[in-house]
């Protein structure tokens, strides 16, 4: 039998039919929905006179729009409130399980799925959100879809998809102290660029990847989309199984044993072919930071912004526009430059491990007076855990407060907006123009780097504190 990649194994097992000269009909095991990309899909379904075909395979949670304070009160923004209420009404009507605001399972959809055990190896999983790639950390084929496709999944539990090409990214070696999964992923994206993996599904391999926790793996897979990949995945192993075991929706008893036997087969066969391969060394990775307006514009925190001469002529206009927006200069360091805001949270770095990392660095220090900091847990469970572990006290002593869960300042659909012209070191996933509010300037970095900036008020190498 032909050697198969991990991706082939999962994808091929879900093909209902191959359309001649076209895409596959792909069966979806788990559909995650939220309030922003689902309402038009529900109304489309309604207009066709159809019901949700497999409501038990769908879970819902409002996250993009929700405020991060006073969640017990009605949402003030009328449009946000309307979207959240529309989600609730649609879920009730269609028999879909929803974790509404204040529900103990509420949170960012990509944080909630894994922590409840909904996300499992070998699954196909989609959501109307590009960071669905997060769930690939479990050895699932998980990717973001548009609203028309959300409607397709509602109607038939399937979507029409052409099979992407396969890429393997291997990172061998050991990450240095102060260098985290976020730095690893920003490093890879800086190498490949924002379109470098377009058309591909990526498998991450190598000892540096294997040594990551599940939280770290989710961070890496989460950002696969930022280099254009359809999704990223990591073969499940003991770390994966250990994480899933005992979670609310994880298989139990005999079913667990049966699933485990299957999950252990989920890895790329010896000799399986990839359409593209890249290999990097963990030792080459420093704490990373972005200086521009796409996630590919990243560098080691002590490095210089590229010189004008190093930019290809065709890319120069976009590059110049980007630096003008950031008010940074060619060929200069940004270390020591002023920071106004710090955001820790999002589906990239709003997990308990991220809050622990942030707290570990700020412990015994004080927040810089000039900094506004938003520390936003990814879910109610993360919030609860942060309280139980005493992280909240550490944060408060250092001058920070923990807010309530949601996507928050990652895309600023709620009130948490960075004002025009201000600089924000953000643990989120996108530094696009206006992403954190019109005119906001975002620098992507790890929770440790965010912590160092929160204490000093300037861009700081977190290794100085370790």
């Amino acid at each position: 039998m032909k050697a198969k990649t991990l991706f082939d194994k999962v994808w091929d097992a879900h093909v209902v039919e191959h359309v001649e000269g076209g895409p596959n009909i792909l069966y979806i095991d788990k559909h995650l929905i939220h309030e922003v990309t689902s309402p038009q899909a529900f109304s489309g379904l309604n207009a066709r006179g159809l019901n949700v075909f497999r409501p038990e395979r769908t879970i819902a949670t409002p996250d993009h729009n929700v405020p991060t304070v006073n969640q017990h009160l009605p949402i003030v923004d009328m449009e946000s409130r309307s979207q959240v209420e529309t989600l609730k009404a649609n879920c009730e009507k269609n028999g879909i399980e929803m974790y509404g605001l204040n529900h103990p399972n509420n949170g960012i959809v990509h944080v909630v799925g894994p922590e409840l055990g909904h996300t499992q190896p070998g699954m196909t999983l989609v959501c109307g959100d590009s960071h669905t790639s997060t769930h690939g950390a479990f050895g699932a084929v998980a990717f973001g879809i548009g609203t028309s496709e959300v409607e397709m999944v509602f109607a038939t539990q399937c979507i029409m998809q052409s099979k992407p090409k396969k890429m393997r990214i291997t990172v061998d070696g050991e990450l240095a102290k102060g260098v985290s999964a976020k730095d690893l992923t920003l490093y890879v994206i800086a190498q490949l660029g924002t379109g470098g993996a377009t058309g591909y599904f990526v498998e991450y391999a190598g000892s540096a990847v294997r040594s990551l926790s599940m939280e770290g793996r989710m961070t890496v897979c989460n950002m696969s989309i930022e280099m254009g990949a359809r999704g990223g995945m990591i073969a499940p192993d003991e770390t994966t199984f250990e994480y899933i075991k005992g979670r609310a929706y994880a298989p139990k008893g005999d079913e667990w044993d049966e699933k485990l036997t299957y999950w252990k087969t989920l890895k790329s066969d010896e000799g399986a072919e990839f359409d593209m391969e890249y290999t990097y060394r963990a030792e080459d990775i420093e704490p990373m930071i972005t200086y521009g307006t796409n996630p590919g514009m990243g560098m080691g925190i002590t490095a210089c912004v590229p010189a004008q001469a190093d930019i290809q002529a065709s890319e120069l206009p976009s590059f110049k526009k980007s630096l003008a927006y950031m008010e940074y200069e060619f060929g200069r360091k940004i270390l020591g430059k002023k920071v106004d805001y710090v955001f820790v949270g999002s589906c990239t770095n709003g997990r308990i491990e991220d809050l622990r990392a942030f707290a570990s660095l700020v412990a015994g220090h004080k927040k810089a007076d000039s900094i506004t900091a938003w520390i936003v847990p990814g879910s109610k469970k993360v919030e609860k855990q942060a309280m139980e572990e005493g992280l909240v006290e550490i944060l408060e002593e250092a001058g920070f407060e923990l807010r309530q869960p949601g996507c928050s300042a990652c895309l600023a659909m709620n009130e948490d907006k960075v004002p025009a012209g201000k600089y924000c070191v953000s643990t989120s996933n996108r530094n696009f123009e206006g992403r954190q509010g019109p005119g906001a300037r975002t620098l992507l970095a790890s929770p440790l780097t965010a912590a160092a900036a929160a204490i000093t008020g300037v861009i700081t190498d977190p290794r100085e504190f370790l």
């Binding site: 209902v16 895409p23 489309g44 590009s130 028309s148 992407p164």
Partner: protein, 192 residues
Amino acid sequence: MSVDKFTYLESSCVPLPNENVDTDQIIPARFLKATSREGFGENLFRDWRFSSSGEPIKDFVLNQSEYSGQILLAGKNFGSGSSREHAAWAIADYGFKVVISSFFADIFRNNALNNGVLPIQVSAEFLRKLFKAIEKDHSQKVGVDLEKQELRYNDEAFQFEINPYKKDCLLNGFDDIDYLIDKKAKIQDFEG
């Protein structure tokens, strides 16, 4: 949503040579709060098109009367970032039927096709020539023949690729859901 049939289009182009145009620029997140599909064209490229006080920004191509048409000509890696289909809705609602670029982000390409907007990928060289031609003559017409998968202007032509299934959908104005619903028995068999 069923889409309009697409067979042949001849139109002038709106040139936007920026590379890596992400969907946050096409439609910023704060405009995603609607629960219907209508009206997104008003906010297409909102922050490039209007100042914070709502005044049109003269430099931006959508505000320049010498450029118009149903074809958006875009730089490399168009539509990267968020999966929001609102970006495709905004482009369609504004009146574009075709987006030409040398490279598209995957999800955007799917979203566009699902909304009757044809994303056409051309070579970097052809794109450069097209930008030049439009710079020289703002009213330069480009013909898009979906049946022949051909893009034409003056004496230049480019054969573009499109998935045969998607081509069929566009030519006939039917969509994936109609197709999938016909396959329901097969889907149930698959579920076992």
